[in-house]
């Protein structure tokens, strides 16, 4: 017969391994996204395991209980993947708690949610004024997500009617002094291009800690040596400036010349330029 302490150690150890396998099989879920049901399940499994480990119940009944809970858990999670009905039944469904700016008291009561809870949840989303909320949903894990009234929503470029340059992904092309070929290829660039760009700034690849290229082929770099000042990319602004400058020049010429046809030509060109500037401005900002 083993001494009691050794038995406890062995039991605990094997249970930890057993639980590790079991929880893997039950599927992964972020702790904060767990529904009430998930939490109940996790606690039950933990308690059975703990009870076996300190010899409150014998190993056989403990393992049987764990297996039963585990199998049922797996069954339910499989079924709830397959069927919406099971999902709603097991995990509960989301409920609308604020509609058209009015609190649905019945729904709150059904969910055992006090008005204080509601306000607290809204406050944690930086909403202090109930009047700002148009619509709010309680998710199955009890969290509340709110849609603000349209005049309370943060301003986006669309609201202002401003065109913005499309934000295509940024690729990291140098890490720790090593040139990464794959991201370069994705951007349709190569090492030769990168070398030229770095030469323009006056650094060698080995001195670069991180280098990124944005969707317009503009290079941003961070050097190992932070005391060295490197110019920030400004080609776009410069291009815009030179277009504006050319337009202003053309307008001046049109005023200065006495030749009627030249006057017309300059004016026409200036007009064309301003349409070009209008067209590309949002891409160069």
């Amino acid at each position: 017969m083993l001494p009691a302490w050794l038995e406890i150690i062995i039991r605990s150890f094997s249970l930890i391994v057993f639980l590790m396998v079991l929880t893997r099989l039950l599927g992964r879920k972020i702790a904060s996204r767990m529904t009430y049901f998930d939490i109940v399940f996790a606690i039950a499994l933990g308690m059975i395991a703990a009870a076996v480990s300190i010899r409150l119940i014998d190993v056989l009944s403990g393992v049987i209980a764990l297996l039963t809970w585990g199998l049922i858990g797996m069954g339910i999670s499989y079924l709830s993947l397959k069927s919406k009905m099971v999902r709603d039944l097991v995990h509960g469904r989301e409920a609308v708690v604020i509609k058209h700016g009015k609190v649905m008291e019945d729904q709150l009561k059904k969910m055992r949610y006090t008005p204080e809870d509601l306000l607290q949840q809204l406050r944690s989303k930086q909403i202090f004024n109930l009047a700002d909320v148009e619509f709010a949903v309680m998710e199955s894990d009890g969290e509340i997500n709110a849609l603000l009234k349209s005049n309370r929503q943060p301003i986006t470029p669309k609201h202002l009617g401003v065109q913005t340059a499309p934000e295509t992904g940024v690729q990291t092309v140098i890490l720790d002094g090593n040139i990464l070929d794959e991201p370069l290829t994705t951007m349709g660039l190569n090492r030769g291009w990168l070398r030229t760009e770095l030469e323009k700034i006056g650094v060698s690849p080995e001195n670069v800690f991180i280098a990124q290229v944005d969707g317009m082929g503009e290079l941003y770099i961070d050097l190992f040596d932070d005391t060295i000042q490197i110019p920030q990319p400004s080609t776009r602004q410069l291009l815009l400036n030179s277009l504006e400058q050319a337009k202003a020049d053309l307008e001046t010429y049109s005023l200065e010349t006495d030749n009627q046809s030249a006057k017309k030509m300059y004016r026409q060109s200036a007009k064309e330029l301003s349409s070009v500037i209008y067209d590309v401005r949002h891409l160069l900002k």
Binding site: G169, G215, M216, G217, D279
Partner: protein, 68 residues
């Protein structure tokens, strides 16, 4: 600076702007942006053509500028 050399300077800076736009037209990742750049490269081309014609006329009218 004479008008002639000023116009020529504008022409050169327009050409350089066009080249930069052309580079963006090749490099930009967004399809729509690429098209916008290409469209404006073409638009600039007609302006550049007209301006270089004007430069030529000025050379012809005032031959002393020729060769600058």
């Amino acid at each position: 600076m004479t008008t002639y050399s000023k116009v020529q300077q504008t022409l050169v800076s327009l050409k350089s702007a066009q080249a930069t736009l052309e580079r963006y037209a090749l490099i930009a990742q967004d399809e729509k942006a690429r098209k916008t750049f290409q469209r404006n490269v073409d638009k600039l081309q007609s302006t550049i053509d007209r301006l270089s014609q004007r430069v030529q006329t000025m050379e012809w009218e005032e031959p002393q500028y020729k060769g600058f």
